[in-house]
Amino acid sequence: MAGLKRYLPVLACALCAFLLPPLFAAANAAYLLTQLTMSAYYALASLGLCALMGYAGQISLGQAGFFAIGAYASAFISKSDPSISPWIACACAVLLAALVAALIGTPVLRLKGHYLAMATLGFGIIIEKIARGTKSLGGADGLSGVSPFAILPGLVVTGGKAARAANFSIAWVVLALGLLALVNLVNSRAGRALRALRDGEEAAGAMGIDIAGYKLKVFVIGAVYAAVAGVLLTRYDGSIGPGEASFVKSVRYVAIVAVGGMDNLTGTLVAGIVLNFLSLRGIFGKYDDAVFGLILVAVMLFAPEGRALRRAARAALAARTGRPRSAAGAPQDRGKGAAE
């Protein structure tokens, strides 16, 4: 039974997917489903980043770049040749993002700390420049008039009001599935390997874990999550612009993972939904970014890090059993992140 507790968030998402639309409709607040749908897709991208940042300990400031690759590729393919089935366009887009991640992941992930952060940042900026500077991608105005995506006959990802409830369900089912996959990942042998990697790379390597391989796989997984989110949100919005690839967006994804507790999938999920929802409803008006920064800094300062708690717990356990305290758990030292 204890093992099933970890699936509660997944269950919650699935329940929301089907229970919230009629509930909101009854409360005359069905319009809220719009922002909740968009938030779900942004949260999906953050979840992918959580696996990379929280569990594998690799920071990426370029998540928005993968979101944009998925979004633009699927939009571009569909607009250039409307006879191509949207399924193919979307699948190709996600595949492209995965390919790019695999290609750049190998050199990039050899870096650590600040260097890794800047390399991923550089990647994100290049994607944005390409999106903004290429005429066939719509330039600064982006691509609009992107056609809906019929997942199944009758189940279409589109922004139209009539399909609002159905689209909410689609988004939250996708979210639930994505969360399910990650929950399984982090609780599997691979997940333990990731955490060993995060807490002490050299030690993990000495234990025979294929560090480079694991890092790359999680990087690609993170990219795929962002790309899927990008593909689906573009179909829902009917348009995509270069702003989605910007540094500001990448920072938001990182901030959401951080606010959620870094290695906390549920936390990331909640933070992703709530913060994006508030932003999209314009609650904070022109102070949206300010509130964001404030929450980020506040959480960083005042919430104890999950890892610190675990380290304390481990120390307590070691004291109880009399075994020497394990060396694992030392966070990467202050900033000296040159590549090996």
Binding site: I59, A255, A290, L296, V297, M300, P331, Q332, G335, K336
Partner: protein, 295 residues
């Protein structure tokens, strides 16, 4: 292409290069003292220009600039004291995220205080249309001030670290924090000083280019990225190299206009960044040992 025009690209290169170098020097000072890369570095340059632009209406120009530098330096110390001191041992990830969050806060505070409009400072000598000719190239006399300020910063820092007791104390602290405190040096004070100096240098650079480039609340992020590029290019922690690297990047950006569309000029900096990170992360003049905390 007539050679006069080739020389002409030198001057914008000098301007960009100087401000990148100043931001990079700021990165290096803080990195040497704390091991932190402060993503909010670019915001200090922005603050310097913005504060000076407000004060310039009330005080003589030189006083406005001096006051702006001092105020920004103080805010650098405040940032360190209030925010960063607490998480100094929290790990790289947390550090990066926090300094990014801080840069957002500072930027939004500037938006709140000054609004979204572009602000400018009066030219230190001459005005908007003044122009100096040299071997067929024309440029604003403000360029002299920019070059002068950069030289002043470099000379000042070298003297500070080599000849003053405090400077030597800071270097000692960087090299070995515990050893230094055993010698009676207060590492916390040194760190606060590092932030103050860093912020002040950024602010000075921001003021001196503001008449030419104008300033507004959102310029910090790009400056931080390019400043980091330059710092890494020269070798993290090595401020002398940062100046050379800064000028190199500035010249590269300026002369690249000849060949590639101006719209991709930022891509030049990103390419330099990526090449440095992948090919030689320790930078042009860095080696693993040297990158550990020497000016």
């Amino acid at each position: 292409m007539p050679h006069a025009f080739l020389l002409q690209y030198f001057f914008p290169g000098l301007i960009y290069g100087s401000i990148y170098a100043a931001v990079a020097i700021g990165f290096n000072i803080i990195y040497n003292a704390t091991g932190i890369i402060n993503f909010a570095q670019g915001e200090f340059a922005m603050l310097g220009g913005m504060i000076a632009s407000t004060l310039a209406g009330l005080l003589p120009l030189w006083l406005a600039v001096a006051a702006a530098v001092a105020l920004t330096a103080m805010s650098g110390v405040a940032v360190e004291r209030v925010f960063l001191r607490r998480i100094a041992r929290g790990g790289v990830l947390k550090m990066i995220v926090t300094t990014i969050g801080l840069s957002i806060l500072i930027r939004e505070a500037a938006l709140l205080a000054w609004g979204e409009s572009v602000r400018t400072l009066p030219f230190f000598s001459g005005n908007e249309v003044s122009s100096v000719s040299f071997l067929g190239a024309n440029f604003s006399p403000q360029v002299f001030w920019v070059a002068g300020a950069t030289a002043l910063i470099v000379a000042g820092l070298t003297a500070f670290f080599k000849f003053t007791l405090t400077g030597k104390a800071m270097r000692g602290c960087s090299a070995d924090r515990d050893g230094a405190s055993l010698c009676g040096i207060d590492p916390d004070r040194m760190v606060a000083m590092a932030f103050g100096m860093s912020a002040g240098i950024g602010a000075l650079a921001g003021c001196v280019v503001a008449p030419l480039t104008q300033t507004h609340y959102a310029i910090g992020a790009t400056l931080a990225i390019k400043g980091f590029t330059v710092a890494a290019f020269g070798g993290l922690g090595n401020s002398g190299a940062a100046v050379i690297a800064g000028l190199a990047l500035g010249m590269l950006e300026s002369y690249s206009t000849i060949l590639i569309p101006e719209a991709y000029k930022d891509a030049v900096a990103i390419c330099v960044l990526l090449v440095v990170l992948f090919a030689k992360p320790t930078g042009l003049f860095g080696s693993r040992a040297a990158s550990l905390k020497e000016f």
